[in-house]
């Protein structure tokens, strides 16, 4: 960081030990605010018995883990449903978003501004009215409570991110490389397949991960469209929480946290600054 090289006017600095203590206290408070709820979740996930006024669980154990992971348990079925829906959503979204992103990044498109704005809508407008009415229509045509119905709802939302990131990924590919390949005699399709697509792949992977996570974590749409037959992991967790079964809901929450936190740790590897800088251009 460039700022590190800056000289600090001595008259404004706190005495060094005091400043160190202050920094440590603020960091510790922040760490508690961020990790406290997560630690609490971990305790609940491994608590056999825990009731008021005990500060910590009376007994730790894995009973609830066995219950969650028993071969024909609800949780494993929900995990399967969730992952299956998320994979279908990614496949559907990318199949539609890659051509759209390419067109937005490279081709002359009439009404480009209006189209970009349309793709912004699902992120910029509260989604509740959409889910409510989709549920009503899907109910009439028999799509409520089906995997396809849930995938369509997830995809219409995930698609938006996918189009924006795919378009940015294609835009960040150097045009002169494509021109070189064309000049060497590559056909348009070969050029796209062997030059453009591989160079845009990290960005496309990032958009796939975003769509996957969004689908995996989606609650409101599934709540309205999935009932009563499609129970994804977030819905299962919600039901366990509302039923007061904190062990089951904490274990399910942990399952949902693993991909979220994993992605947070690696996101910058896929979403490089050059792609980020092209988002929305």
């Amino acid at each position: 960081m460039a700022t590190r090289a800056l000289a600090l006017p001595a008259s404004f600095a706190l005495p060094a030990p005091l400043a160190t203590v202050l920094r440590a206290i603020v960091l510790a408070l922040l760490a508690f605010a961020i990790f406290g709820p997560l630690l609490n979740l971990l305790l609940w996930a491994f608590a056999e018995r825990w009731y008021f006024p005990n500060k910590l669980p009376i007994e730790f154990g894995l009973t609830y883990w066995y219950r969650v992971f028993q071969p024909r348990g609800n949780a494993l079925a929900s995990l399967g449903t969730s992952v299956w829906i998320a994979l279908l959503t990614v496949a559907f979204s990318l199949a539609v978003a890659i051509p759209a992103g390419y067109a937005l990044a490279r081709l002359k498109l009439p009404w480009r501004g209006a189209i970009l704005l349309t793709f912004l809508l699902p992120q910029a407008v509260p989604n509740l009215p959409v889910y409510v009415n989709i549920a009503q229509v899907f109910y009439q045509i028999g799509l409520n409570g089906t995997i396809l119905g849930v995938v369509l709802v997830h995809a219409s939302h995930g698609l938006v991110l996918a189009v924006w990131i795919a378009s940015a990924a294609f835009a960040s590919v150097d045009v002169s490389l494509e021109e070189a390949s064309r000049n060497l005699g590559a056909s348009p399709w070969t050029c796209f397949r062997t030059v453009t697509l591989p160079l845009a792949t990290p960005g496309l992977i990032a958009s796939a991960i975003f769509v996957f996570l969004e689908s995996l974590d989606e609650f409101t749409g599934t709540y309205f469209v999935g009932v009563p037959d499609v129970t994804t992991l977030p819905l299962l967790m919600f039901n366990a929480t509302m039923g007061g079964n904190y062990q089951i809901s904490s274990i399910t929450a942990l399952l949902l946290l693993i991909p979220s936190i994993g992605f947070m740790l690696v996101v910058e590897r896929f979403l490089k600054a050059d792609v980020l800088a092209m988002v929305g251009r």
Binding site: A2, T3, R4, L6, L8, F12, R23, A31, F32, G36, N40, F52, K55, V96, P99, A100, A103, L107, K108, L109, I115, L121, Q123, P126, N127, L128, P129, V130, V132, N133, Q136, V137, L152, V153, A155, S156, L159, V175, E178, E179, S181, R182, P188, D217, E218, F219, T220, Y223, P234, M237, F238, M242, S249, A253, L256, L257, S260, I261, F263, M264
Partner: protein
């Protein structure tokens, strides 16, 4: 010069054909239901235009509408303050190790879904939850004064916990892209870090901050899981009322009227943003 892309696919027809499927999906599964919401909200039992669903909405849920607006506004302001503080320290902080720890620390909730944030806070903020245990254990409060935070405060805390890292990420990115010379010059002239942040850094990243805050504002308006898990009883957020109108009464007209009202709240945020954007264009 003819670019490769133009030789790959000539004409606007091809471009439109490539983008048509994506537009169709958004149109069918987003724009159309949204339009339907408006129609249902204003249509009487025998057809024709009516405002009775809105009258009923205000009658039953007027308090909840205000409650929703208050929660979302307070959360947005707090998110702004937290994001500015953290991003500001990441940009101007002089202690490399603190900056590194902070950078590693702040983003943990970034991709944690709202439904999980709701579950985390439901147990963390309860009367016998970890927060109270820690406060009592450290002698900060008496056991008798421990109280549950599972009301509007719980919703605000869950929202800030979940959304602040997102705005911070955007803001820190924008701050990192600023010209270091400006900051350096101000510091060399003896300006304090806080005034460098407020007078020099913030004005240049105002746009990014507003985008992040408006996106958060709109997102929080349509979150159902957090209020449902933390504070489902009246007064609560409009999203809970919408779910209740549908699941208990199958009352789509009033549910849609409530949706339209929350769209209007979101529009306030959008107008605020556009005003700022146009002011900036004029000022430039």
């Amino acid at each position: 010069m003819v670019t490769v892309s133009q030789s790959v696919l000539r004409g606007r027809g091809a471009a439109l054909a490539l983008i048509a499927p994506a537009l169709a999906v958004v149109g069918l599964f987003f724009v159309a239901p949204l339009a339907m919401s408006v129609v249902v909200a204003f249509r009487g039992k025998e057809g024709g235009f009516t405002l009775e669903h809105f009258a009923k909405s205000f009658d039953f849920y007027g308090t909840d509408l205000l409650f929703t607006l208050a929660i979302v506004v307070v959360s947005t302001l707090l998110i702004g303050v937290v994001a500015i503080a953290i991003a500001g320290y990441l940009t101007l902080g002089e202690h490399p190790r603190t900056v590194a720890v902070l950078r590693w620390l702040y983003r943990w909730p970034l991709f944690i879904p709202f439904v999980v944030a709701g579950q985390l806070m439901r147990t963390f903020l309860a009367k016998n939850g970890m927060l109270n245990h820690v406060l009592i254990g450290s002698g900060l409060i008496e056991p008798s004064s421990a109280q549950s935070l599972l009301d509007w405060r719980g919703i605000v805390i869950a929202f800030v916990w979940k959304q602040a890292p997102f705005v911070t990420l955007l803001l820190a990115g924008a701050m990192a892209a600023l010209e270091p010379q400006h900051i350096e010059a101000a510091r060399n002239l003896g300006a304090r870090r806080l005034s460098v942040l407020i007078d020099i850094v913030l004005p240049q990243v105002r746009g990014t901050l507003l985008v992040g805050l408006v996106l958060s504002f709109v997102t929080m308006l349509s979150v159902l899981s957090v209020p449902l898990m933390i504070n489902p009883n009246s007064p609560t957020m409009v999203t809970v009322d919408v779910a209740y109108r549908i699941s208990t009464h199958a009352d789509y007209p009033v549910a849609n009227a409530l949706c339209i009202l929350s769209l209007l709240l979101a529009a306030i945020g959008a107008v605020f943003y556009l005003r700022h954007a146009s002011a900036r264009v004029e000022g430039a």
